[in-house]
Structures are given as C-alpha cells and as structure tokens.
C-alpha cells in the first residue's frame, strides 16, 4: 500500500470488534472474525453487477501488512419473477480470497421460503455449501433450481415454496432455501472474489510472496505455489521450499507442490536430484506420481538413477516401481560406472523378478 487516494484504500487502524458492530453469531459458525485484531483497510469497489451491496471491500491486515481476511457487507435480493426478499449479511474471504465465513446482522436472521428462520443446522449447512468451490450450484441457473408442477399457473415462489427443489439438489442445499443458497454461493464466488484476487496480485513481488509463505498458513502457502506457477520468475527462489512442502502432513499442500513440478521443469538436473533425494520422506502415492513424471522427462541425471536404485535396495521404494524406474534408464546411463555397478548388483539379485528384469534391461539398452 503505497498511497491513499480517491480510489485507494483508506487505512483505519482499529480493533474491529471495538467499533461497535454487534452481530449475532449463530452456533456452529466459524470464529467471530470481527473480533480479530489488526489494521483495517477499506478498498473501494465499484461493483457494477451489484450496486446494492456496499461498494467497498474491507481488508484486515496483520502488523506486517499481510491480509488476514477480506469482507464485504452484502445486501442481496433473493428473488425470482419479481418477488424478492432482502438478505443482509457480511461475507468473509480469507487472506488469499477463499471463502472464509459469514456473519449476520443483529435481528436479521436468514429466512426460508415459508418465512421461518434458519436454524443452527441450516447455518452450518449453508457454511458448508459456501465452502464448496465446486458445488453443484456452480453451473446452475436460477431456473434450474426447482421443478415446477404443470398445474401451477404462476409457479414462481421464493425458494420453491410451491415448486419442488430438483431432486439432485435437495440433498445439497438448505431445505426450503434453495434460492438463498444459490444467490449467496454465486456472490461468494463472483465479482468480489475476483476483486480480492486482483488486489492480491497487484501486490505480487518476491518479498510479498516470501512474507505470505513465511506465515506458515496453509492457504497462503497454496496461494504462493499457485502464483509462482503462474510467474516462473519466482521459481528459483521458491522451488526448494516447495520440495520441502511435499512432505507436509497437509494433503492439499503436499499434492499441490507435487503437481507444481512437471514438464520441462523436470529436465533441470538440480530439481531432479532434489526430488529424488526427497523420495524416502514421501508417500508411496507421491513417489509413484513422481516417477511417472520423471518417465516423461528428457534424460535423468546419472546420479538420480543411482539414487533411485539405492532407494529400491533400501526398500524405501517398493519393488513394484522398479519397472518404471527401468523405463527411465537410457543407453547413455550405461556409460556411468556407478549406474553400471548398481545394475550389476541388481542383475545378481537373489530375487528372480529383479534379476530377470535387470538382465533384460541391460540387453535392451545394449542393442
């Protein structure tokens, strides 16, 4: 944040909760975001698609200026065929723009098509729906949401009051609140999210990425992986750390960092070597994926071939991967004495499978 101008964020330092927002927080909802401490930055946001909601996005930053969350005060008409009902609430996105939660205004609970109020379980369900970026609601238009009985002349009613929710949907939406779910889902994953992402990319440079990565927060790390993937100029600075992350107990992070390494990148000997060295700390599934990736690369360094064979010898990689490892071995590798020595060992192995396969490999590569 360099300047504060007309369209630039207004920076207010405060304890969010302390300025007197007083919202009801139904049970089972995520923690009270508004209690979080930090620096509040207001970004103006001219949202042409949604003129009713506040035309600003609030960002809470930590003391280092890193985003903790983004929020927007939403006023939405949930309507179909002219009959509308206003929904007011705060929506929150985390520091990298993923859905984070919602917060209701005091005395303004969400209601269903029959005007009854949402119950705690309904809020929980709504939170789950909004957390699912791939929800079935994604590709549905409002008119796809209900089945309208032929007998009804003007069947449209809020949230399928007169019409039945599509059977495929009824399991995945809050009962009698299909339009609310649909509207809010599309709000969460619509313009505001896009704007938040552009606010973040505007800050993109090595030190920002570095700072985000250092927070240790998994979603921030995932975001950094994504950004570096899109901006190869930062690759050299980060790739070793990504290799470390492959060992993470967080599956998503481990998977994302594994998928980061692909294609021409794997022709880099340093990367190959590092990846192969890391294998004993990775899961079988990751190692299998990794070997398949290496199979597609141009030529594996001799040293990596030796390491892979050592991993098999040490039972750090299962025998079931040996045939794939042998696909990596090209005639050029047989010029390396260490590779030759290792393969000689394998061709004398007690196990017939290993022995035979090695002999055939040697025969093939000599031809």
């Amino acid at each position: 944040m360099r300047t504060v101008g007309l369209h630039w964020p207004v920076i207010i330092v405060f304890l969010f909760g302390a300025i007197g927002f007083s919202y009801e927080n139904p049970e089972n909802l995520p923690p009270d975001f508004l209690d979080a401490k930090g620096i509040c930055v207001v970004h103006s946001f001219a949202d042409s698609a949604d003129l009713i909601s506040d035309q600003e996005i609030i960002e809470l930053q930590d003391e280092d200026g890193l985003p903790i969350w983004f929020a927007r005060h939403i006023f939405k008409d949930v309507c179909i065929s002219g009959k509308c009902r206003m929904v007011r609430l705060w929506l929150f996105w985390d520091g990298v723009g993923n859905y984070h939660g919602f917060k209701l205004l005091e005395h303004e609970p969400l209601t269903k098509s029959d005007h009854t109020q949402f119950e705690a379980a309904d809020y929980k369900k709504l939170d789950e729906i909004l957390s699912d970026s791939l929800s079935i609601l994604k590709d549905l238009k409002q008119e796809d949401l209900v089945i309208i009985p032929d007998s009804i002349d003007n069947p449209y009613e809020l949230d399928g009051y007169t019409a039945a929710t599509q059977p495929a949907l009824s399991e995945v939406v809050v009962k009698d609140a299909v339009y609310t779910c649909h509207t809010l889902w599309h709000t969460v994953y619509g313009n505001t999210q896009e704007k938040i992402r552009s606010l973040l990319t505007a800050r993109l440079d090595q030190s920002f990425l570095e700072a985000m990565f250092k927070t240790g927060d998994v979603s921030k790390k995932l975001w950094v992986v994504k950004m570096v993937d899109q901006h190869p100029e930062y690759h050299a600075h980060f790739y070793l750390r990504f290799i470390e992350c492959m060992k993470s107990g967080d599956n998503l992070l481990a998977e994302s960092t594994l998928s980061y390494f692909r294609g021409a990148m794997l022709d880099d000997i340093l990367i190959q070597t590092k990846l192969v060295e890391t294998m004993p700390s990775l899961s079988l599934h990751q190692n299998t994926e990794l070997i398949w990736k290496l199979v597609d690369c141009d030529l594996l360094a001799d040293e990596s071939v030796v390491r892979l064979l050592e991993h098999v010898q040490a039972e750090e990689l299962p025998v079931g991967l040996l045939n794939l490892i042998y696909r990596l071995i090209k005639p050029e590798h047989l010029e390396d004495p260490q590779v030759v020595e290792k393969l000689a060992d394998f061709s004398q192995a007690e196990d017939v499978y290993i022995r035979n396969m090695t002999k055939r490999l040697l025969q093939r590569t000599k031809e």
Partner: protein, 617 residues
Amino acid sequence: MKNVVLFIILFITVGLVESNAQSVLVEAESFQNKGGWVVDQQFMDQMGSPYIMAHGMGEPVADATTTVQFPKDGAYHIFVRTFNWTAPWYEGEGPGKFELLLEGQSTNITLGSEGSEWIWQQAGKVNVVNKTLKIGLRDLTGFNGRVDAIYFSKSANPPTNDFTALNEFRNKALKIKPRKAGKFDLVVVGGGVAGTAAAISAARLGVKVALIQDRPVLGGNNSSEVRVHLGGRVKVHPFPALGDVVNEMGPTRGGNAQPAAYYEDEKKMEMVLAEENISLFTNYRAYEVKTKGAKITGVWARNIETSEELFFSAPLFADCTGDGTIGFLAGADFAMGRESKEQYGEATAPEKADAMTMGASVQWYSVESEKEEHFPDFQYGVEFNEANAEQVTMGEWTWETGMNFNQISEFERIRDYGLLVVFSNWSFLKNHSSKKQKYQNRKLDWVAYIAGKRESRRLLGDLVLKEQDLTNHVLYPDASAPTSWTIDLHYPDPKNTAHFPEKEFKSIAVHKAIHLYPIPYRCFYSRNVDNLFMAGRNISVTHVALGTVRVMRTTGMMGEVVGMAASIATAHKTNPWGVYQNYLDELNGLMEVGVGKYKMENMQKYNEGQTLGPKTE
C-alpha cells in the same frame, strides 16, 4: 520359467505353408514380415483361424511379405480368404480393401471389399518359376482389411468354407501334428488378471503350472491391447492378504483408454517369468479339450502365428478365458444372458429371462497434432449428423456394443460394429461437422482392435452367487475373495437408442452399492466337470451378481484363491470339490497368509469404486 515358447517362436521364421503337388496353403498370420498388419485370434473358434488385419485407423499400413516354397513350378490359381466386414450394415463395396503382391507387383485385383461372410476370393493366377514366390499384402485404406489365408492351386476350385470341413482341410494341408507341451499339475487357460494371478499364486505354493494365453501380452482387458484400468478393492476384510499378487503385478496408475505405457505390461510379464514353476505359453489359444468321464485330461492349443499345436495334460485345469471356453468344450453347465426374476428371486432381474448381456468396448482416443490431419470419409451404413454425432475426442467404457447379440458366436460382428461407429463418427467430426475446425489437427492415436468383453458364459458351480447374497450379506462357510464394486449393470444409453435404435453403441451403468462381500469358494469350480476351476468373469454367478464381481482386482483375487485351492488339491490328490469338502480350513489358512512375495504397501488405490453399501445382515 521354461522358455519353450520363446524358443519356438524365435526359430520358426518361415511361415507355416502347406504344399503338395497340386496346391499350397499359406496362413496369413504366419507371414515372415507382417509389416503393419496385426494378428487377430479373437474369432478363431468361429471362423477357424487367426487372421491378419490392416488396422491403420484410416492410413494404409505397411506391406506384409513372405516367401513361399512350391513343390512344382507352373501356373496356379490364387484364392484369398477374406470378406467385407461392413457388409452387415452396408450393401456396397466395403472399406477393407487390399491387394495381393506377387514378386513385389500388384495383381491389381481389389480384395476384401466383397462377401458378407468369410469367403475364398479369386485373386488371379500366377506362374511360379524356381519353386519360390515372394508374396505380399498391400493395404489400400487402413480400414481393417483382413486375410485369413492364401491358397495356390492347380485347380480352379477354392477350398470349402464349411467350418468343420475347412478345419480338416487346414489340418491336413498344414500337416498339423500336436506335440506334447509337458506334464503339469495345473493348466491355467487365459492370461488376463484372473489367470495370471491364479498361475502366480499356485506356482508360489509349489504347483507346476502351464499358463496359456492367446496374446503376446498378459493382462487381458488390463493389457495395453484393451486398456481398461483395474477396479475394486484389494487387501480388505475378511482376508487382507488376498490381493497381494494383484498389488505386485498391477499397474500403478489408473485410467481407461490411455497411452499403452499406463498398463505396465512388462510388470505382469516379468512377475510371471520370475516364477520357476510357471511355463508360459503366450500366443497359444486353447481350442479343444480331451475328457474322460467327467474329467478334463488335456487341452489342445494352437499358436496364433505359426499354427503349431501343443497338448497339455494335467490333473487340474483353470478356465480363466473370460468366455468359459474350456468349460464349454468340456460340457460344463453354464448360463448366458439374464435370468428371470423367478429363477433366483433377484430384485434387479427382469421378469422374463432373455439373452441380453453387457456389451463389449472398442475404446479409442485421439491426440492433437501440430499440423492439420486428414481422415478419409467413412460412411458405411450408419449415418452420423449434427444431431447424433458424439462430439468427443476419446471414447472409453461407455462405447459399448453388442448387448443384444451373442458375445461369442457373433463377436466379430460386435467388434466390427465398435470399429465402424468409431470411424464413422470420427469421419463426421473431421469432415462434415459444423465444428470440424475443432478437430482439424486431431488424429486418431489409438483404436482398440482387441475388444474388451464384459460378459458371456458363466460356468455354474456348486453355488451360484445371486443378488440377495450380496445385498443381504449372506455369508457362507467357504467365504473367500471379497468383492467390493457396486452391482454395476450396463444398458443401452436411451439417448443413443433414440438416435440409433437397435444399433446402439453407447451404454449407461446402473449401480447398486454393496458392502464388502466375500465370494464363496464354490463359485470357483464347475459343478459337473470334476477337475475344473474357474476365475474371472466366467465364474458361477447370475447376470446381476456379475455386476460386482467382474472387476479385475476382484477377478485377480479369485485367481489367487484358485491358485491356493489348486495347491491343496495337488498336495492331497483331490479335486476342487474335495478341497471344499475336506480342506476348507487349509484354504482359509492360505487365504489368511496370502502368497505375496514382497513387502509392499497397497499400490492399488485408484478406481477402488464408490462408497460401500450397508451390511444388511
């Protein structure tokens, strides 16, 4: 592993050619150089022989050539056994055109485009000098022209087409004399996942096994020839050691209709070759059995390239052919088609029994190329247009043909229809579609010619597994390999039916979840052929129950159990029923320990199937 087969193949370099003073018969599959032609043995039992086929996906394949020795010089009439494979759908000339080459020169007679069934087509005359003739086959289209044999005769009459008479003629002409393959404890016929696992399991327990497989590779539907990925769960309750062999030999990556490398053919092959107790006979198709009373005493198999014949004798046999061919030949009771509701009281069965089965798939895919790729216009009786064309770049399991045809006797037609629709649809997309721009640089990279089968004969055992056993979790004392896939039954896709009534080529699957269910061992041996085991999709189940058991991790575990039972039967000199009757504890003991050789975490974690259903009882 005894290298009998490899030895034979290496040293038979001259094609098997019959000659007598009057005539010479050349089996096309024995050509020394097959160029781009492929050997197809799938319909041998129906049309009498393997044949070679120009499977070029629209691009003519390289010439096949061979040198023929003649007993005498002089003039010979030439006949080529072939036919027009599109005849069932199109009346005119077919696309499978090719020519015969004599000393490198074309005879200029177009072959392969006429005849609605296998016929001897006149291919001109030749004057042989120096008693040798170099002949060749030149593909003209890349569209599956096929040749069974070439006959040179002093007489103007071609040989017969009658199946039995032709076989006799062939045997006599080629002077086929079966040799003994050796003596074994167990002969496993069919090297799909079930048969391969059965052979490995038995061999590891000390049984001398012959494994006969009619293709050059192992794995059946899971090989690079068919490209179906393994499905179902292994190493689960109540026998977590079952599935060790499947885990050791199974590919590490999932996906149907993917590049050949995915299917890790070499791993299955090496796993088998590593077993000293297995004699592997690839490229041999078992076609006849010898029986004595209710027992099989031997099996004859013919090499699909050289026509060499071998005779295998053993006290025990395992039918893992998928089609239950060995059982059928030995007179085993079998079922085919759908049982009626009344027959077994199954909720999913139709009111009336019928002949419907699940279909077979010719899977395919295309790749994006750097330049524009041409594909010939291909229209042979099934019209594709904007409304009915499949706007896709690959086709996997949903491309399924022949549900209302006989998956054995009409299988060539079923496979051919699979090819026909792939080519016709692709031709439409490439040449006529309003979206043809999108396909401009795309090229067919792989279209299977070995069709993947799902269902045909089911050999009947002492127990026929039915739907209620699975859904009510009825446990039997001989509970063994667990099945975990849903009851997954296929039907013609109604959308496809609307466009192609009675000529469907796309399917839908209807699933019913089940809990892990251990299949009774009694489903794994014939009820009326004393020494016949079975593993794979041809076990003793109803059509509905086949819906779950047919997936290959499950058929592989069946194989493991059959291998274990065979070791017990061998040790106690008893038969499969004897194992059930007297040695079930021993079998349980083996199933608990398993026959895994390597300490290996479960690598079979892809395509495990949907969430398990409830355990009702």
